[in-house]
Protein backbone atom coordinates (compact mmCIF):
# COMPACT_ATOMS: atom_id res chain seq x y z
CA UNK A 1 0.00 0.00 0.00
CA UNK A 2 1.29 3.43 -0.90
CA UNK A 3 1.25 5.83 2.00
CA UNK A 4 1.58 9.59 1.81
CA UNK A 5 5.06 9.50 3.30
CA UNK A 6 6.21 7.31 0.37
CA UNK A 7 5.10 10.05 -2.02
CA UNK A 8 6.94 12.73 -0.09
CA UNK A 9 10.02 10.53 0.10
CA UNK A 10 9.85 10.04 -3.65
CA UNK A 11 9.56 13.80 -4.27
CA UNK A 12 12.51 14.36 -1.92
CA UNK A 13 14.63 11.79 -3.78
CA UNK A 14 13.70 13.16 -7.19
CA UNK A 15 14.56 16.71 -6.21
CA UNK A 16 17.92 15.80 -4.76
CA UNK A 17 18.74 13.60 -7.75
CA UNK A 18 18.25 16.27 -10.38
CA UNK A 19 19.13 19.47 -8.53
CA UNK A 20 22.04 20.43 -6.33
CA UNK A 21 21.56 20.48 -2.56
CA UNK A 22 20.71 24.12 -1.87
CA UNK A 23 18.33 24.50 -4.80
CA UNK A 24 16.56 21.24 -3.95
CA UNK A 25 16.21 22.36 -0.35
CA UNK A 26 14.77 25.70 -1.47
CA UNK A 27 12.41 23.91 -3.85
CA UNK A 28 11.21 21.72 -0.98
CA UNK A 29 10.58 24.79 1.16
CA UNK A 30 8.56 26.38 -1.65
CA UNK A 31 6.62 23.15 -2.19
CA UNK A 32 5.83 22.91 1.51
CA UNK A 33 4.69 26.53 1.59
CA UNK A 34 2.47 26.05 -1.44
CA UNK A 35 1.06 22.88 0.09
CA UNK A 36 0.22 24.69 3.33
CA UNK A 37 -1.43 27.60 1.56
CA UNK A 38 -3.38 25.27 -0.71
CA UNK A 39 -4.49 23.21 2.28
CA UNK A 40 -5.61 26.24 4.25
CA UNK A 41 -7.47 27.81 1.35
CA UNK A 42 -9.12 24.52 0.39
CA UNK A 43 -10.11 23.88 4.00
CA UNK A 44 -11.44 27.41 4.38
CA UNK A 45 -13.60 27.04 1.27
CA UNK A 46 -14.92 23.67 2.43
CA UNK A 47 -15.54 25.02 5.92
CA UNK A 48 -17.34 28.12 4.70
CA UNK A 49 -19.59 25.98 2.55
CA UNK A 50 -20.18 23.45 5.33
CA UNK A 51 -20.82 26.20 7.82
CA UNK A 52 -23.45 27.88 5.69
CA UNK A 53 -25.10 24.66 4.63
CA UNK A 54 -25.22 23.29 8.16
CA UNK A 55 -26.39 26.66 9.44
CA UNK A 56 -29.27 26.39 7.04
CA UNK A 57 -30.25 22.91 8.13
CA UNK A 58 -29.89 23.75 11.83
CA UNK A 59 -32.25 26.66 11.39
CA UNK A 60 -34.78 24.96 9.12
CA UNK A 61 -33.46 26.67 5.99
CA UNK A 62 -31.85 25.34 2.83
CA UNK A 63 -28.59 27.27 3.00
CA UNK A 64 -26.87 28.20 -0.26
CA UNK A 65 -28.50 26.34 -3.16
CA UNK A 66 -28.21 28.52 -6.26
CA UNK A 67 -24.55 28.61 -7.33
CA UNK A 68 -23.70 25.19 -8.65
CA UNK A 69 -25.39 21.98 -7.62
CA UNK A 70 -26.64 22.37 -4.00
CA UNK A 71 -24.78 25.66 -3.85
CA UNK A 72 -21.38 23.97 -3.83
CA UNK A 73 -19.73 26.80 -5.74
CA UNK A 74 -21.08 29.50 -3.43
CA UNK A 75 -17.91 29.75 -1.31
CA UNK A 76 -15.74 29.97 -4.44
CA UNK A 77 -17.98 32.64 -5.90
CA UNK A 78 -17.71 34.60 -2.64
CA UNK A 79 -13.94 34.29 -2.67
CA UNK A 80 -13.76 35.60 -6.24
CA UNK A 81 -16.07 38.45 -5.34
CA UNK A 82 -13.95 39.43 -2.33
CA UNK A 83 -10.80 39.33 -4.43
CA UNK A 84 -12.26 41.62 -7.08
CA UNK A 85 -13.62 44.16 -4.63
CA UNK A 86 -11.82 47.40 -3.90
CA UNK A 87 -9.89 47.66 -0.63
CA UNK A 88 -11.10 50.83 1.01
CA UNK A 89 -8.90 52.49 3.62
CA UNK A 90 -10.66 55.02 5.83
CA UNK A 91 -9.29 58.56 5.65
CA UNK A 92 -8.30 58.91 9.28
CA UNK A 93 -7.05 55.36 9.68
CA UNK A 94 -3.49 54.59 10.70
CA UNK A 95 -2.73 53.42 7.17
CA UNK A 96 0.39 51.22 7.53
CA UNK A 97 -1.09 49.48 10.58
CA UNK A 98 -4.42 49.11 8.82
CA UNK A 99 -2.76 47.32 5.93
CA UNK A 100 -0.45 45.27 8.12
CA UNK A 101 -3.14 43.83 10.42
CA UNK A 102 -4.72 41.31 8.02
CA UNK A 103 -1.29 40.20 6.85
CA UNK A 104 -0.10 39.54 10.41
CA UNK A 105 -3.20 37.60 11.33
CA UNK A 106 -2.87 35.42 8.21
CA UNK A 107 0.84 34.78 8.66
CA UNK A 108 0.22 33.74 12.26
CA UNK A 109 -2.38 31.27 11.06
CA UNK A 110 0.02 29.72 8.56
CA UNK A 111 2.90 29.61 11.07
CA UNK A 112 0.87 27.65 13.58
CA UNK A 113 0.37 24.87 11.03
CA UNK A 114 4.06 23.90 11.04
CA UNK A 115 4.28 21.22 13.76
CA UNK A 116 1.12 19.27 12.91
CA UNK A 117 1.40 15.68 11.79
CA UNK A 118 -1.28 15.06 9.17
CA UNK A 119 -0.46 11.42 8.63
CA UNK A 120 2.37 9.07 9.45
CA UNK A 121 5.52 10.94 8.44
CA UNK A 122 3.70 13.96 7.02
CA UNK A 123 4.85 16.80 9.21
CA UNK A 124 6.43 20.07 8.22
CA UNK A 125 8.54 20.63 11.30
CA UNK A 126 8.68 17.94 13.95
CA UNK A 127 9.77 20.13 16.83
CA UNK A 128 10.02 18.78 20.35
CA UNK A 129 7.80 21.50 21.80
CA UNK A 130 5.08 21.36 19.15
CA UNK A 131 2.10 21.92 21.47
CA UNK A 132 3.77 24.82 23.22
CA UNK A 133 4.72 26.33 19.86
CA UNK A 134 1.13 26.17 18.63
CA UNK A 135 -0.24 27.81 21.78
CA UNK A 136 2.47 30.48 21.65
CA UNK A 137 1.88 31.27 17.99
CA UNK A 138 -1.87 31.28 18.27
CA UNK A 139 -1.60 33.77 21.13
CA UNK A 140 -0.17 36.13 18.49
CA UNK A 141 -3.38 36.22 16.48
CA UNK A 142 -4.85 38.63 19.04
CA UNK A 143 -2.23 41.17 17.97
CA UNK A 144 -3.67 41.25 14.46
CA UNK A 145 -7.16 41.77 15.84
CA UNK A 146 -6.01 44.55 18.19
CA UNK A 147 -4.10 46.22 15.36
CA UNK A 148 -7.01 46.04 12.97
CA UNK A 149 -9.40 47.40 15.57
CA UNK A 150 -7.12 50.26 16.53
CA UNK A 151 -6.01 51.26 13.05
CA UNK A 152 -9.59 51.49 11.75
CA UNK A 153 -10.06 54.60 13.93
CA UNK A 154 -13.62 53.60 14.62
CA UNK A 155 -15.08 53.17 18.06
CA UNK A 156 -16.95 50.00 17.14
CA UNK A 157 -13.78 48.43 15.83
CA UNK A 158 -11.89 49.49 18.93
CA UNK A 159 -14.55 48.03 21.20
CA UNK A 160 -14.51 44.80 19.24
CA UNK A 161 -10.74 44.60 19.47
CA UNK A 162 -10.80 45.26 23.21
CA UNK A 163 -13.37 42.57 23.79
CA UNK A 164 -11.50 40.13 21.65
CA UNK A 165 -8.26 40.87 23.48
CA UNK A 166 -9.80 40.36 26.91
CA UNK A 167 -11.44 37.18 25.70
CA UNK A 168 -8.46 35.56 24.02
CA UNK A 169 -6.01 36.46 26.80
CA UNK A 170 -8.25 34.93 29.45
CA UNK A 171 -9.35 31.84 27.56
CA UNK A 172 -5.77 31.00 26.69
CA UNK A 173 -5.28 30.11 30.35
CA UNK A 174 -7.82 27.33 30.56
CA UNK A 175 -6.92 26.13 27.07
CA UNK A 176 -3.28 25.91 28.14
CA UNK A 177 -4.12 24.11 31.37
CA UNK A 178 -6.33 21.54 29.67
CA UNK A 179 -3.56 20.95 27.12
CA UNK A 180 -1.11 20.59 30.01
CA UNK A 181 -3.20 17.73 31.40
CA UNK A 182 -2.50 15.74 28.23
CA UNK A 183 1.15 16.78 28.19
CA UNK A 184 1.46 15.41 31.72
CA UNK A 185 -0.08 12.11 30.66
CA UNK A 186 1.95 11.60 27.50
CA UNK A 187 5.15 13.08 28.93
CA UNK A 188 6.06 14.95 25.76
CA UNK A 189 5.30 18.21 24.01
CA UNK A 190 6.04 16.95 20.53
CA UNK A 191 2.81 16.46 18.60
CA UNK A 192 4.31 13.43 16.89
CA UNK A 193 5.20 11.76 20.19
CA UNK A 194 1.77 12.53 21.61
CA UNK A 195 0.18 10.80 18.64
CA UNK A 196 2.52 7.81 18.89
CA UNK A 197 1.72 7.54 22.61
CA UNK A 198 -1.91 6.95 21.63
CA UNK A 199 -1.26 3.76 19.67
CA UNK A 200 -3.12 1.70 22.28
CA UNK A 201 -6.04 4.07 22.54
CA UNK A 202 -6.87 7.71 22.45
CA UNK A 203 -6.19 9.87 25.48
CA UNK A 204 -9.84 10.72 25.91
CA UNK A 205 -10.52 7.02 26.51
CA UNK A 206 -7.34 6.18 28.38
CA UNK A 207 -7.14 9.23 30.59
CA UNK A 208 -10.31 8.58 32.58
CA UNK A 209 -12.34 11.54 33.81
CA UNK A 210 -9.55 14.17 33.80
CA UNK A 211 -9.04 13.66 30.06
CA UNK A 212 -12.76 14.02 29.37
CA UNK A 213 -13.00 17.18 31.48
CA UNK A 214 -9.88 18.53 29.78
CA UNK A 215 -11.42 17.75 26.38
CA UNK A 216 -14.65 19.59 27.18
CA UNK A 217 -12.79 22.60 28.56
CA UNK A 218 -10.45 22.58 25.60
CA UNK A 219 -13.36 22.58 23.15
CA UNK A 220 -15.01 25.49 24.98
CA UNK A 221 -11.76 27.45 25.14
CA UNK A 222 -11.02 26.72 21.47
CA UNK A 223 -14.41 28.05 20.47
CA UNK A 224 -13.65 31.18 22.46
CA UNK A 225 -10.16 31.56 21.04
CA UNK A 226 -11.45 31.23 17.50
CA UNK A 227 -13.88 34.09 18.28
CA UNK A 228 -16.84 31.99 17.30
CA UNK A 229 -20.35 32.17 18.59
CA UNK A 230 -21.36 31.95 21.47
CA UNK A 231 -18.14 33.86 22.11
CA UNK A 232 -18.17 36.09 19.03
CA UNK A 233 -18.35 39.34 20.96
CA UNK A 234 -15.43 40.68 18.99
CA UNK A 235 -17.57 40.74 15.87
CA UNK A 236 -20.93 41.23 17.51
CA UNK A 237 -22.82 41.95 14.30
CA UNK A 238 -25.84 43.35 16.07
CA UNK A 239 -24.13 45.68 18.51
CA UNK A 240 -20.78 46.40 16.84
CA UNK A 241 -21.59 46.09 13.11
CA UNK A 242 -18.76 43.66 12.58
CA UNK A 243 -16.31 44.61 15.35
CA UNK A 244 -12.67 44.75 14.48
CA UNK A 245 -13.19 44.18 10.76
CA UNK A 246 -15.95 46.72 10.28
CA UNK A 247 -13.81 48.96 8.08
CA UNK A 248 -12.20 46.24 6.03
CA UNK A 249 -13.30 45.28 2.55
CA UNK A 250 -12.10 43.27 -0.40
CA UNK A 251 -9.07 41.08 -0.05
CA UNK A 252 -8.17 42.51 3.36
CA UNK A 253 -11.50 41.37 4.72
CA UNK A 254 -10.99 38.06 2.97
CA UNK A 255 -7.71 37.63 4.84
CA UNK A 256 -9.44 38.26 8.18
CA UNK A 257 -12.09 35.78 7.20
CA UNK A 258 -9.48 33.24 6.13
CA UNK A 259 -7.59 33.75 9.40
CA UNK A 260 -10.73 33.11 11.40
CA UNK A 261 -11.27 29.80 9.68
CA UNK A 262 -7.56 28.94 9.86
CA UNK A 263 -7.64 29.48 13.62
CA UNK A 264 -10.67 27.27 13.86
CA UNK A 265 -8.97 24.60 11.75
CA UNK A 266 -5.76 24.76 13.79
CA UNK A 267 -7.58 24.52 17.10
CA UNK A 268 -9.61 21.58 15.82
CA UNK A 269 -6.39 19.86 14.71
CA UNK A 270 -4.76 20.57 18.07
CA UNK A 271 -7.73 19.12 19.92
CA UNK A 272 -7.84 15.93 17.88
CA UNK A 273 -4.08 15.49 18.13
CA UNK A 274 -4.18 15.76 21.89
CA UNK A 275 -7.40 13.96 22.73
CA UNK A 276 -8.50 11.88 19.75
CA UNK A 277 -5.19 10.53 18.55
CA UNK A 278 -4.49 12.66 15.47
CA UNK A 279 -3.99 10.35 12.51
CA UNK A 280 -3.85 7.30 14.77
CA UNK A 281 -6.60 4.79 13.89
CA UNK A 282 -9.01 3.66 16.56
CA UNK A 283 -7.30 0.87 18.43
CA UNK A 284 -8.54 -1.29 21.26
CA UNK A 285 -5.67 -3.08 23.03
CA UNK A 286 -6.09 -6.83 22.76
CA UNK A 287 -8.30 -6.97 19.68
CA UNK A 288 -5.60 -7.56 17.07
CA UNK A 289 -7.96 -8.29 14.16
CA UNK A 290 -10.04 -5.20 14.83
CA UNK A 291 -6.89 -3.08 15.06
CA UNK A 292 -5.64 -4.42 11.74
CA UNK A 293 -8.93 -3.64 10.03
CA UNK A 294 -8.74 -0.11 11.44
CA UNK A 295 -5.17 0.23 10.15
CA UNK A 296 -6.40 -0.26 6.59
CA UNK A 297 -8.09 3.14 6.70
CA UNK A 298 -5.27 5.58 5.89
CA UNK A 299 -4.13 8.03 8.55
CA UNK A 300 -5.04 11.08 6.53
CA UNK A 301 -8.66 9.92 6.42
CA UNK A 302 -8.68 9.45 10.18
CA UNK A 303 -7.07 12.84 10.66
CA UNK A 304 -9.47 14.81 8.52
CA UNK A 305 -12.44 12.78 9.66
CA UNK A 306 -11.76 13.70 13.27
CA UNK A 307 -10.96 17.30 12.35
CA UNK A 308 -14.27 17.63 10.59
CA UNK A 309 -15.99 16.10 13.59
CA UNK A 310 -14.61 18.85 15.84
CA UNK A 311 -15.40 21.49 13.23
CA UNK A 312 -18.94 20.14 13.02
CA UNK A 313 -19.23 20.47 16.81
CA UNK A 314 -18.09 24.09 16.58
CA UNK A 315 -20.59 24.79 13.80
CA UNK A 316 -23.28 23.13 15.87
CA UNK A 317 -22.40 25.38 18.84
CA UNK A 318 -22.44 28.46 16.68
CA UNK A 319 -25.90 27.92 15.28
CA UNK A 320 -27.45 26.83 18.54
CA UNK A 321 -26.26 29.09 21.32
CA UNK A 322 -26.97 32.78 21.71
CA UNK A 323 -24.08 35.18 22.18
CA UNK A 324 -22.81 35.69 25.72
CA UNK A 325 -22.52 39.02 27.46
CA UNK A 326 -18.96 40.17 28.13
CA UNK A 327 -19.21 39.92 31.93
CA UNK A 328 -20.75 36.46 31.75
CA UNK A 329 -18.04 35.45 29.33
CA UNK A 330 -15.28 36.48 31.72
CA UNK A 331 -17.17 34.98 34.66
CA UNK A 332 -17.38 31.64 32.85
CA UNK A 333 -13.64 31.66 32.34
CA UNK A 334 -12.41 32.93 35.69
CA UNK A 335 -14.97 31.35 37.99
CA UNK A 336 -15.68 28.07 36.27
CA UNK A 337 -13.22 26.96 33.60
CA UNK A 338 -9.99 28.11 35.24
CA UNK A 339 -10.51 26.60 38.73
CA UNK A 340 -11.85 23.39 37.24
CA UNK A 341 -8.95 23.05 34.85
CA UNK A 342 -6.40 23.69 37.62
CA UNK A 343 -7.96 20.97 39.80
CA UNK A 344 -8.25 18.77 36.73
CA UNK A 345 -4.55 19.21 36.00
CA UNK A 346 -3.74 18.07 39.54
CA UNK A 347 -5.93 14.99 39.08
CA UNK A 348 -4.29 14.23 35.75
CA UNK A 349 -0.85 14.50 37.35
CA UNK A 350 -1.97 12.22 40.19
CA UNK A 351 -3.33 9.61 37.79
CA UNK A 352 -0.13 9.72 35.77
CA UNK A 353 1.96 9.43 38.92
CA UNK A 354 0.05 6.35 40.05
CA UNK A 355 0.12 4.91 36.53
CA UNK A 356 -3.63 4.46 36.52
CA UNK A 357 -4.13 5.42 32.90
CA UNK A 358 -3.97 2.35 30.73
Amino acid sequence: MISLSDITQWIHKMLFQYLNGTVAYGAELVLAGVAVIALVVAMAIIMVYAERKFAGFFQMRWGPNRVGKWGTLQAIADTVKLMLKECITPNNADKPMFKLAPIIITVVGFLALAPFAFAKGIVLWDMNIGVFYVTAISSLSVIGILMGGWASNNKYSLLGALRSGAQIVSYELSAGLSIAAIIVMSGSMSLNDIILAQTDGWWILRGHIPAIIAFVISIIASTAEANRSPFDLAEGEQELTGGYHTEYSGIQFALFFLAEYTTMFILAMLNITLFLGGWMPFHIPGLTVFNHIMDFIPGIVWFFGKTFFILFLMIWFRWTFPRMRIDKLLKLEWKYLLPISIVNLLFAAFITLMGWHF
Binding site: F54, F57, F58, Q59, W316, T320, F321
Partner: protein, 160 residues
Protein backbone atom coordinates in the same frame (compact mmCIF):
# COMPACT_ATOMS: atom_id res chain seq x y z
CA UNK B 1 -21.84 24.39 51.68
CA UNK B 2 -24.89 25.65 49.90
CA UNK B 3 -22.78 27.83 47.61
CA UNK B 4 -20.62 24.84 46.71
CA UNK B 5 -23.73 22.85 45.87
CA UNK B 6 -24.98 25.76 43.77
CA UNK B 7 -21.63 26.02 41.97
CA UNK B 8 -21.78 22.42 40.79
CA UNK B 9 -25.51 22.57 40.20
CA UNK B 10 -24.92 25.57 37.91
CA UNK B 11 -22.33 23.66 35.93
CA UNK B 12 -24.46 20.59 35.39
CA UNK B 13 -27.62 22.56 34.82
CA UNK B 14 -25.74 24.68 32.28
CA UNK B 15 -24.59 21.59 30.42
CA UNK B 16 -28.10 20.17 30.54
CA UNK B 17 -29.64 23.29 29.05
CA UNK B 18 -26.93 23.53 26.38
CA UNK B 19 -27.55 19.88 25.52
CA UNK B 20 -31.28 20.55 25.18
CA UNK B 21 -30.56 23.37 22.75
CA UNK B 22 -28.14 21.28 20.76
CA UNK B 23 -30.65 18.44 20.55
CA UNK B 24 -33.26 20.81 19.17
CA UNK B 25 -31.03 22.07 16.39
CA UNK B 26 -29.68 18.56 15.86
CA UNK B 27 -33.23 17.34 15.33
CA UNK B 28 -33.75 19.93 12.64
CA UNK B 29 -30.45 18.93 11.02
CA UNK B 30 -31.55 15.33 10.52
CA UNK B 31 -35.12 16.20 9.53
CA UNK B 32 -34.81 18.16 6.29
CA UNK B 33 -38.55 17.86 5.73
CA UNK B 34 -39.05 20.41 8.50
CA UNK B 35 -37.45 23.12 6.39
CA UNK B 36 -39.68 26.17 6.21
CA UNK B 37 -37.93 28.00 3.37
CA UNK B 38 -40.11 28.72 0.34
CA UNK B 39 -38.03 28.87 -2.80
CA UNK B 40 -40.05 31.80 -4.00
CA UNK B 41 -39.64 32.45 -7.70
CA UNK B 42 -39.49 28.71 -8.40
CA UNK B 43 -42.64 27.73 -6.53
CA UNK B 44 -44.67 30.70 -7.71
CA UNK B 45 -48.15 29.53 -8.43
CA UNK B 46 -47.49 25.97 -7.25
CA UNK B 47 -46.59 25.45 -3.61
CA UNK B 48 -46.27 29.07 -2.60
CA UNK B 49 -48.09 29.57 0.68
CA UNK B 50 -48.89 32.97 2.12
CA UNK B 51 -50.59 33.26 5.46
CA UNK B 52 -54.23 34.26 5.43
CA UNK B 53 -53.62 37.28 7.62
CA UNK B 54 -50.79 38.66 5.48
CA UNK B 55 -51.27 42.35 4.66
CA UNK B 56 -50.65 42.55 0.93
CA UNK B 57 -52.76 45.39 -0.41
CA UNK B 58 -56.15 46.93 0.19
CA UNK B 59 -58.91 45.60 -2.05
CA UNK B 60 -62.60 46.30 -2.27
CA UNK B 61 -64.60 43.13 -2.80
CA UNK B 62 -67.37 43.33 -5.35
CA UNK B 63 -70.13 40.77 -5.62
CA UNK B 64 -71.50 39.26 -8.85
CA UNK B 65 -73.88 42.21 -9.45
CA UNK B 66 -70.90 44.58 -9.43
CA UNK B 67 -71.89 45.95 -6.08
CA UNK B 68 -69.62 47.04 -3.25
CA UNK B 69 -70.40 48.05 0.29
CA UNK B 70 -68.62 51.38 0.54
CA UNK B 71 -70.87 54.18 1.76
CA UNK B 72 -68.23 56.85 1.06
CA UNK B 73 -68.13 57.84 4.71
CA UNK B 74 -64.37 58.49 4.29
CA UNK B 75 -63.49 57.16 7.75
CA UNK B 76 -60.76 55.13 6.10
CA UNK B 77 -59.29 58.27 4.59
CA UNK B 78 -59.17 59.91 8.00
CA UNK B 79 -57.70 56.86 9.70
CA UNK B 80 -54.88 56.51 7.20
CA UNK B 81 -51.65 57.75 8.82
CA UNK B 82 -49.90 58.59 5.56
CA UNK B 83 -52.69 59.80 3.38
CA UNK B 84 -52.65 56.99 0.90
CA UNK B 85 -56.43 56.93 0.55
CA UNK B 86 -58.61 59.47 -1.23
CA UNK B 87 -62.34 58.88 -1.18
CA UNK B 88 -64.11 60.94 -3.82
CA UNK B 89 -67.83 61.09 -3.42
CA UNK B 90 -70.69 62.86 -5.19
CA UNK B 91 -74.22 63.79 -4.30
CA UNK B 92 -76.93 62.17 -6.37
CA UNK B 93 -80.68 62.28 -6.23
CA UNK B 94 -82.39 59.00 -5.67
CA UNK B 95 -85.63 58.12 -7.52
CA UNK B 96 -87.51 58.84 -4.31
CA UNK B 97 -86.21 62.37 -4.45
CA UNK B 98 -83.76 62.12 -1.58
CA UNK B 99 -80.27 63.48 -1.80
CA UNK B 100 -77.63 60.85 -1.13
CA UNK B 101 -73.84 60.70 -1.03
CA UNK B 102 -72.39 57.89 -3.12
CA UNK B 103 -68.87 56.77 -3.88
CA UNK B 104 -67.34 58.07 -7.06
CA UNK B 105 -63.77 56.94 -6.82
CA UNK B 106 -61.87 55.16 -4.04
CA UNK B 107 -58.28 56.11 -4.90
CA UNK B 108 -55.54 54.06 -3.32
CA UNK B 109 -51.89 55.26 -3.48
CA UNK B 110 -50.13 51.98 -2.86
CA UNK B 111 -46.73 53.70 -2.97
CA UNK B 112 -47.65 55.62 0.20
CA UNK B 113 -49.24 52.68 1.97
CA UNK B 114 -47.49 50.95 4.87
CA UNK B 115 -50.03 48.12 4.99
CA UNK B 116 -50.86 48.88 8.60
CA UNK B 117 -54.51 47.92 8.21
CA UNK B 118 -55.95 50.93 10.07
CA UNK B 119 -58.41 51.59 7.24
CA UNK B 120 -59.81 48.08 7.52
CA UNK B 121 -60.27 48.54 11.26
CA UNK B 122 -61.89 51.91 10.72
CA UNK B 123 -64.38 50.80 8.07
CA UNK B 124 -67.85 50.44 9.64
CA UNK B 125 -69.35 48.51 6.73
CA UNK B 126 -66.57 46.01 5.92
CA UNK B 127 -66.23 47.41 2.44
CA UNK B 128 -62.48 46.90 2.19
CA UNK B 129 -60.10 44.16 3.23
CA UNK B 130 -56.45 43.16 2.87
CA UNK B 131 -55.56 40.71 0.16
CA UNK B 132 -52.58 38.37 -0.05
CA UNK B 133 -51.25 39.84 -3.27
CA UNK B 134 -47.67 40.96 -2.71
CA UNK B 135 -46.05 41.25 -6.12
CA UNK B 136 -46.42 44.99 -6.53
CA UNK B 137 -43.17 45.75 -8.32
CA UNK B 138 -43.59 47.89 -11.40
CA UNK B 139 -41.52 49.91 -13.83
CA UNK B 140 -43.93 52.85 -13.94
CA UNK B 141 -45.35 54.93 -11.17
CA UNK B 142 -48.83 54.83 -12.68
CA UNK B 143 -49.27 51.27 -11.52
CA UNK B 144 -49.17 52.42 -7.92
CA UNK B 145 -52.27 54.54 -8.27
CA UNK B 146 -55.29 52.31 -8.08
CA UNK B 147 -59.00 52.96 -8.17
CA UNK B 148 -60.57 50.25 -6.11
CA UNK B 149 -64.21 50.55 -7.04
CA UNK B 150 -64.91 49.04 -10.43
CA UNK B 151 -66.48 51.29 -13.08
CA UNK B 152 -70.22 51.25 -12.92
CA UNK B 153 -70.36 49.62 -9.52
CA UNK B 154 -72.88 50.77 -7.00
CA UNK B 155 -73.66 50.42 -3.34
CA UNK B 156 -75.11 47.15 -2.25
CA UNK B 157 -78.57 47.58 -0.89
CA UNK B 158 -78.84 46.66 2.74
CA UNK B 159 -80.10 43.22 3.48
CA UNK B 160 -83.34 43.41 5.29
Amino acid sequence: MRSIYKYFYDIFHGFYSLWTGMMTTGYYLVHPKKILTQEYPDNRGTTLYIAERFHGEVVMPHDENNEHRCTACSLCQMSCPNGSIEVKSEMIETPEGKKKKVLKQWIYHIDLCTFCGSCIDACPSDAIRMSNEFEHASYTKDAFLKVLNKPGSKLKSKEK
